[in-house]
Amino acid sequence: MSGPGAHWLIRFNVGGAEAALPLGVVREVVARPPVVPVPGSHSFVSGVALLGGVALPVYDLRRFGAFWSATGPDRGGPAGAPGEHLIVCDWGEARLGLLGDRVDLLEQEGRGDDRGEAREGGCAVSRKFVRDVVRRDEESVILLNPVTLFASLGVPAAGPPRAMEGVGEDDPAGG
């Protein structure tokens, strides 16, 4: 049972890093559909997939250089392996997919800002994109900040629908 203040996250592996997104921005998770490359698109766009009649841009964060700190990507992960799943996100009027592996639900109990690991440089992901670090057993899962991540990917910002409320909260201490 979820305790008060618990948040559900979608956890996934990308480039060897354990990452997560708030469940509120995730529409669905599907097996990776056929993706057709689009010449002229950003280098971190794998291509587009047709999902429910919509051209869904598919992003491969492993190719997004700004996403990674000096220690990533592929820190301990399967180098070069494409994501087996597509995490479909709704962001305002836009819809996009992120490639990832080993997708699972994760419960975050309360909010404990723990970006110290990111600040100290021990995190594979650049701290700009880290909203929190969730500890589970011996593992650290990087909770991504969808506001900075999607903006950096070029996804247009829009008035947040109800599902996105709170997902972009940042550290008021300015971390």
């Binding site: 056929p34 057709v36 490359p37 689009v38 010449p39 002229g40 698109s41 950003h42 280098s43 766009v45 587009v48 997939a49 047709l50 009649g53 919509v54 051209a55 841009p57 836009a94 996009l96 070029g154 996804v155 247009p156």
Partner: protein, 128 residues
């Protein structure tokens, strides 16, 4: 909407058929000459657009040239082959989100289901 299906290396694209003025086989078309980075067809100097570099493909040995007419100008587009002309319902074509492109002047505008993999639709008005 009728589309000409073309191949560029392993990539498969669709070109709106009414934008294609001519399909030119350089082996049989004496009026077509390549000149530097452009082409001359019947005395008209035209931009030569080669999609191979953009698609990350190597040019084939026997290219076919399309004389395309966009909303602003005409150009010659080099492809590796033409496959068929097919009718694709406009409702089947999903527009590509503009924010995925690294630069303005995009080359593709949409995508539709076509067998195991979707097929991209060339944007002749954005390109020309």
């Amino acid at each position: 909407m009728k589309f000409l299906m073309v191949s560029v290396g392993q990539a498969r694209y669709a070109v709106q058929a009414d934008a294609v003025r001519r399909i030119l086989d350089p082996a049989q078309e004496a009026d077509l000459h390549l000149e530097g980075a452009g082409a001359v067809f019947r005395g008209e100097h035209l931009q030569l657009i080669d999609l191979h570099a953009a698609a990350g493909e190597s040019p084939g040995r026997a290219p076919v040239y399309l004389l395309l007419e966009g909303s602003h100008r005409r150009a010659i587009v080099r492809v590796d082959g033409t496959e068929a002309i097919r009718d694709v319902p406009a409702t089947d074509i999903a527009p590509l989100p503009p924010f995925i492109f690294a630069r303005p002047g995009r080359v593709f505008r949409g995508v539709f289901p076509d067998g195991p993999s979707p097929r991209l639709v060339l944007d002749q008005d954005g390109m020309l």
